[in-house]
């Protein structure tokens, strides 16, 4: 447990990381370092995107599954690690 907390702290302290959000399988955020409204926004939108992305990957080959998703935008990069019980979102602006 302590190891996990430490790793989260380390990621949070890396250059340019704006926030870390952990969301459970229903799309409800359970841990976040951002404010409430942004968290809820990110969680909801990412949930939908994940469903679509996973559906796409599995449609093409049902034995395949989504393991990681990165969305690069002008201002930052959103990295999502999905799983069947949760998904982990990290928002980073590496050029800060």
């Amino acid at each position: 447990m302590a190891e996990v907390e430490e790793t989260i702290k380390r990621i949070q302290s890396q250059k340019g990381v704006q926030g870390i959000i952990i969301v459970n399988a229903e799309g409800i955020p359970i841990k976040s370092t951002l404010d409430n409204s942004s968290t809820v926004q990110y969680a909801g939108n990412v949930h939908q995107l994940l469903l679509k992305a996973r559906g796409m990957v599995r449609d093409i080959d049902p034995q395949n599954d989504l393991t990681f998703l990165r969305v690069r935008s002008k201002k930052n990069e959103i990295m999502i690690a999905p799983d069947k019980d949760y998904f982990l979102i990290v928002i980073q602006n590496p050029t800060e």
Partner: protein, 612 residues
């Protein structure tokens, strides 16, 4: 009806002959005589074959009769016709025939109504994608999985959809949260995420390391200061220099002295660094960190050792075994695949273990020329108690001495020192010949370098005496089979050839102790050296008097270890503050530079030709 009866009667009549007044046979003959031999054409088969009664009815062959006028006006028909006309005449006014009319009942109509419930129509639709079908086909165990989850949560819920679960247990999120955080998959995901975040930050440095073109981020607003410093350096860039890429350091390693570094033989991105004080004072517990190139801010594995770490080596056969030699003479073998702190095996139980610091360790593969148990990989160590030993992993680590580093006979006061008193010189380094694994060199604290053979442990094959201080490192050239290099605390580095007892070349630059040297794995004439306060890269093609690149470190910080990277043109320098800095060798004369200069000169030549 009448017609039918007449048909029958004519048919019956056919059976007898008809003769007219003149006695001629006028029997009507059938027009069509079906040939008895020919199969009758069947009618279109609509009915099933077993229903033969039907087919026979329809299969009556059509028979047509020829009736001539003569037969038609025959006596039989004449009679009948006459009788008929008489009957028609007698009909009117005859008592035999009465006209009557009838009335039929019209039943009363009755209306009937039926009413039923409206049939509700519901639209039901299911989206079934390819993977949906695949999942339901494969996941028979899915129901049981759900049950397991609810058992862990200690609630007797029906394994239904997750939304139902949520409603039944209001404290659901908290419990799930705990479960999630403890799951292995989450830890793995976190590790991957950390590496991804760091890859974003270190991307240009890693690209430079891997010799990929460094592409600028198109969305990035490059800070002015960074650009200036970079351009400044590139202005002087015609001369070779060391480009600083990044530093491996973290909280744990602060203040510790880097004593040794080694690459993993199988995974070229994994680096093991040993931290331990090299001198007698300030001994503290040592540390071994396995760093991955993908995460320069935190090591992947951390092993705490009881005493300072002085030597490290990864095994080539079992790439996950790391042998660690320590200041108190213990040798431990760790398995880096797990994060367990305890080594697989440790030499502290061995009776013969080293009593002095283990200064160098190596896994050596004896594949040629040796028979029996000596084949395969072995761990060989040299220590301050003057012994070079081979360690065998058999119910615990046991060692066999390969060589005792005896001091050669000393002449004191014109008398030969009693040879019965064996004094062993502390060994500081050794190196096996890259091609011939039976021959090795050992350097001692007295400044002698002995060439020894693996199979003969009584005497040295040869001794090279030139250094006046302890020989810290001796290393064969990876390209030339006879050449080796040695460095010592007497400020010198000597280049030797195997057959000459005096060094061929000596390198000195300043009066500083040389801690470590290493040949470059890429270029036969390049080697690196680490002195107190300086990192030097020597290129013998350019000059054998001065180092080609000299990089001065921060004051107070001494570089203590040097390592070249096997695949790229980078060099790692470990220092006394616990930092391992990665430098890229820039502008060392290389083939690309030669080509570039040739092409650019050709280009200018071409230009002048055109102008002229």
């Amino acid at each position: 009806m009448f017609f039918f009866s007449s048909y029958i009667s004519t048919f019956l009549y056919l059976l007898r002959q008809v003769f007219d007044e003149h006695g001629q046979d006028v029997t009507p003959h059938p027009l069509y005589n079906p040939d008895p031999g020919v199969l009758q054409p069947k009618q279109g088969k609509i009915f099933p074959a077993h229903d033969t009664s039907w087919t026979t009815v329809t299969d009556f062959p059509s028979v047509a009769f020829q009736t001539t006028n003569a037969s038609f006006t025959g006596p039989f028909t004449k009679e009948r016709n006459k009788a008929y006309t008489e009957l028609c005449k007698n009909r009117l006014g005859n008592d035999k025939y009465v006209e009557r009319s009838m009335q039929t009942f019209n039943d009363a109509p009755k209306t009937k109504e039926v009413q039923s419930d409206s049939i509700t129509m519901v639209d039901k639709a299911v989206m079934s994608s390819t993977w949906d079908m695949y999942d339901s086909f494969c996941n028979k165990g899915d129901a049981s999985e759900n049950i397991v989850v609810s058992a862990e949560g200690k609630k007797a819920t029906v394994p239904d959809s997750s939304s139902m679960n949520h409603l039944l247990n209001p404290s659901g999120p908290d419990q799930n949260f705990e479960l999630i955080l403890q799951s292995d998959k989450f830890k793995q995901d976190l590790a991957v995420m950390e590496r991804v975040v760091l890859a974003n930050i270190f991307q240009p440095k890693l690209a430079a390391y891997r010799q990929l073109p460094v592409i600028e981020d198109p969305d990035c607003v490059q800070t002015q200061i960074e650009e200036e410093s970079w351009t400044e350096q590139s202005k002087n860039s015609l001369s070779p220099f060391l480009e600083h890429l990044w530093v491996f350091k973290c909280e744990l390693t602060k203040g510790r002295n880097v004593s040794s570094m080694t690459w993993n033989k199988k995974n070229p991105d994994l680096l093991a660094v040993g931290y331990g004080q090299l001198d007698f004072k300030d001994q503290k517990p040592g540390l071994v960190c396995c760093w991955s190139l993908k995460n320069p801010t935190w090591p992947d594995r951390i092993f705490h050792c009881e005493s300072g770490v002085t030597a490290l080596d990864f095994s080539a056969c079992n790439a996950n075994q790391l042998a660690v030699g320590m200041y108190d003479g213990t040798i431990a073998i760790y398995n880096v695949q797990t994060t367990e702190q305890t080594p697989i095996i440790d030499s502290s139980d061995c009776a013969n273990m080293h009593a002095c610091p283990v200064w160098q360790l190596r896994w050596v593969d004896h594949d040629t020329g040796l028979a029996g148990e000596d084949k395969g990989e072995m761990l060989i160590s040299v220590s301050g108690d003057g012994r070079i030993s081979k360690w065998i992993h058999y119910k615990g680590l046991e060692c066999v001495d390969l060589m005792k580093l005896k001091s050669p006979n000393m002449i004191v006061n014109n008398q030969r020192w009693n040879p019965k008193i064996l004094s062993l010189a502390p060994g500081l380094c050794f190196d096996f010949h890259p091609n011939d694994s039976k021959v090795y060199l050992a350097g001692t604290e007295e400044g002698h370098i002995h060439k020894c053979s693996y199979s003969y442990n009584e005497q040295f094959l040869e001794t090279y005496k030139a250094h006046t201080g302890p020989v810290y490192k001796v290393t064969w050239s990876p390209f030339c089979p006879d050449i080796f290099l040695s460095c010592s605390s007497d400020w010198t580095i000597y280049l030797w050839r195997q057959d000459l007892s005096k060094p061929v070349l000596g390198f000195t630059s300043g009066q500083k102790v040389v801690f470590d040297i290493m040949w470059s794995p890429h270029c036969a004439t390049v080697f690196g050296a680490v002195r107190e306060g300086k990192v030097e890269i020597w290129d013998l093609r350019v000059s054998s008097l001065d180092p080609t690149i000299v990089s001065v470190t921060n004051p107070g910080v001494n570089p203590t270890a040097l390592l070249f990277t096997p695949e790229t043109d980078c060099v790692l320098v470990g220092d006394s503050e616990g930092q391992v800095t990665v430098y890229k060798l820039k502008n060392l004369p290389a083939l690309e530079d030669v080509i570039r200069t040739t092409l650019s000169s050709k280009h200018t030549l071409g230009k002048t030709d055109r102008d002229a």
